[in-house]
Amino acid sequence: MIAVRSLAHRYGAAEALRLSEWKVAQGERWLVLGRSGSGKTTLLHVIAGLIRPTEGEVEVAGENLCRLEGARLDRWRATSVGIVLQALHLVKHLSVRDNLRLAQYLAKAPQDDKRIDDTLGALGVGAKSSRRPSELSQGEQQRVAIARAVVNRPKLVLADEPTANLDDAAAATVVELLTEQAGRQGATLVVATHDARVKGKFRERLEL
């Protein structure tokens, strides 16, 4: 599913990430650990095709990301990867339902209200579908963000510090929902975090 070889990325002269080899099989659940500044976010962005690494080979979901260009890379990301971010970044002026519909629209997938309602329902926020993100609690917003990441049934779900702003109960729920959602559609899950509360829940770990 993911194969990384002799990867390095630098911002200017400063090295942000070095990883000699990392292999992830389809359906596995990984935790990427490390202090802040250790390159967790950079690694996630490389895997998501948001940045091109300075060195190395990256193969994700059958595509060599170094060879995908422009619009094809965007298309690939839209259909293959679901991303949950640390800060929530739901689109403020769109309702919860329209945030999910946006993901379908941008992936050029059919705009399927039933799929949206099912996904929101599975994450326990089905009743909030016509609300604006600002009317939701942090925990609810994170559930909507997860729903938006999985609505297109991606093969790979990436989460960057998904529990950072949540209390213990909400953090536990989010991890549970992420693994459950990824498991339900057989997606690979990679969570980057430095949150000690999450560590116990994953078998596969990568220390940066």
Partner: protein
Amino acid sequence: MNLATLSASYLRARPLNTALSVILLALGVGTIVLLLLVVGQAEERMHRDARGVDLVVGAKGSPMQLMLAGIYHLDAPTGNIPLSTVALLSKNRMVKRAMPLALGDSWKGHRIVGAGKEYPDHYGAELRDGRFYQKPMEAVLGYEVAQRTGVGVGATFKGAHGIGSDPGDEHEDSYTVVGVLAKSGSVVDRLVLTSIESVWQVHEQHQGPQDDADRKALEEAREVTVVLVQYASPLAAATLPRQINSQSELQAASPAYETARLFRIVGVGIEALRGFAAVLILAAGLSVFIALYTALEERRYELAVMRTLGASPGKLFGLLIGEAFVLSLLGVILGLVLGHGLAAALGAWLESQQQYPVTGLEWRPEELWVAGTALGVGVIAALVPAWRAYRTDVSRTLARG
């Protein structure tokens, strides 16, 4: 969901910014559309009313006044000229037709024009009711006169001395309405027509002829106000006006030349208004630019998130252009409604003042051009913000957040 609904939903979330851009654009477009309608309609009407009249001959004075009084019935006449002038002009080989008009009185603000049947015929005005006048003191009402006064065939009225807003005393003789004209879209619609003899009769009674000698003297002193002349050949334009102007009592005014002069004078004001409207449209463009550009800072996460969801940079470019397009389209639509609404309001007011009519229910081809330009200005204003959105560095933006 599509680009248009996505753009619209963003604009709805910022009602004040949206309203400012839309209103500025609407004011600019509205002003230009109003000018187009009013100036265009006035020019058209003035040309229609002056069609077939090559020269207005009347008493000495201002040639523009002579034209305004003789053709458009908007100004006071310069004075009267001897009836013999008509025969003199008719006999001239350079003259195809000479139509004498006798002016001076009005009824409820509508001018009473003494003229032959050739005068309404010239404007293609046909009878809607009754018949044409045959005897003195019979009158035919123009379409608008009948509409406004509600008077029809069989009614009688007395003319008042003088024209304009403050007429003098009423004359003693009553006119009888024998006919009403159908709408012709020309100056005749606003006039009360009667025979030239009626006008003479009304005025001569002030003095009252005592005997035959007196009557003869009166008849010799008979006058008309203007003569509308149509040339027999274009060559007449070179000599006839000079010939007429060299006579001490007469003056010839060319409607083509005088209307051109009038529009040159009024044109300065029109150009100033047009420039003002252009400034408004540019200001609207600037406001679109500022609204989109300043919002970029707070939207950069939103735009980066759209990239993580698979939006291409081109999609973000299109999104901002789409927002500017929706704004401009709203402004243009509102501006067209505003321009036509103001023209209709102005038309209603002018009608109450018995001036040239203006309608808002008419489209001019130039409006398409104005709409296109305003849309273009809005979209061009969005190019720089759209380019910045296109260049969004997703990874760096997200890493900062």
